[in-house]
């Protein structure tokens, strides 16, 4: 059997999953979001720590609570590469909204999602979200970049 990295059916399933997951993020629906995670998901998040393992539903709920109004979570330029039971995708995500202190935020960040098929269903096994930083001596996080 030759390497099958052009699995169109799997790609379609994963695109639908990501759309559903992003919709749950916008709706601040914790259960909807974590339903797409593997139990042992490995996360590299925008904020510390370096790495975390497992689902943190409470942490997600707490973060949702800091955005009282509409939360914008848009997936752009999504590319999916899928085999039969492992897949990866990357996109640029635009996060926007108003925080509890009234401050408006908009940030574009990079997103890599890696998936495994577990019990016949695709699950996000690894999530990596980040912004780059400036190497001009400031080490300032580049939260002001747009594609």
């Amino acid at each position: 059997m030759t390497a099958g990295n052009g699995n169109a059916a799997a790609e379609g399933e994963i695109r639908a999953l990501i759309e559903d997951w992003a919709k749950a993020m916008r709706a601040k629906d914790v259960d909807g979001v974590v339903s797409h995670f593997a139990a042992d998901i490995v996360t590299f998040d925008l904020a510390p720590p370096l790495l975390s393992t497992g689902v943190d539903a409470d942490g997600l709920q707490a973060w949702f609570s800091t955005w009282p109004g509409t939360l914008g979570y848009e997936i752009h330029d999504l590319k999916v590469t899928a085999g039969d039971d492992a897949a990866f995708c990357h996109c640029l995500t635009r996060l926007s909204g108003t925080k509890v202190d009234g401050e408006k935020h908009e940030v574009w960040f990079r997103e890599t999602l890696c998936l495994r098929k577990i019990g016949g269903a695709w699950k996000i096994a690894h999530q990596h979200e980040s912004v780059p930083f400036y190497m001009d001596g400031s080490y300032r996080a580049a939260v002001d970049l747009k594609p």
């Binding site: 590299f44 925008l46 990357h90 300032r140 939260v143």
Partner: protein
Amino acid sequence: MALQMTRRDEKAEVRGLIEDWAKAARAGDIEGIMAVYAPDIRSFDAIAQLQFKGAEAYRKHWQACIAMCSGPMTFEIHDLGIEAGDGVAFGHYLLKCGGTGPNGKEQTGWMRVTVCCRNQGGRWMVAHEHFSAPFDMESGKALLGLEP
């Protein structure tokens, strides 16, 4: 009759590719680094810009990064986890990296890496990689000194 590569074989091949890349990176060997990248690689690097599209753009960036350091660089891979299946694989690890900067001082820090590979014609290539450090929301600064 074609033999089906077992999951274990695929993981071992991808691990070998990552180790070859790290060896080339430590030596500042641009050809060795570029040898693992697909021509259409999409890279999210830790610095400078949101993304690099394609091997040629990424090569220029690597050349600039190598030029920033004199002597051998540190690229130590920790906690590597790999998943592979049917010609598609991904890995994630913590990277201790650094080198001697233009001021002669040695600096190392920790980053996170995701590497995504596909097998084309029997050869594994990196189609996507993502390097980053987290940042502190209060100060707005990247945190390179966090230890695992």
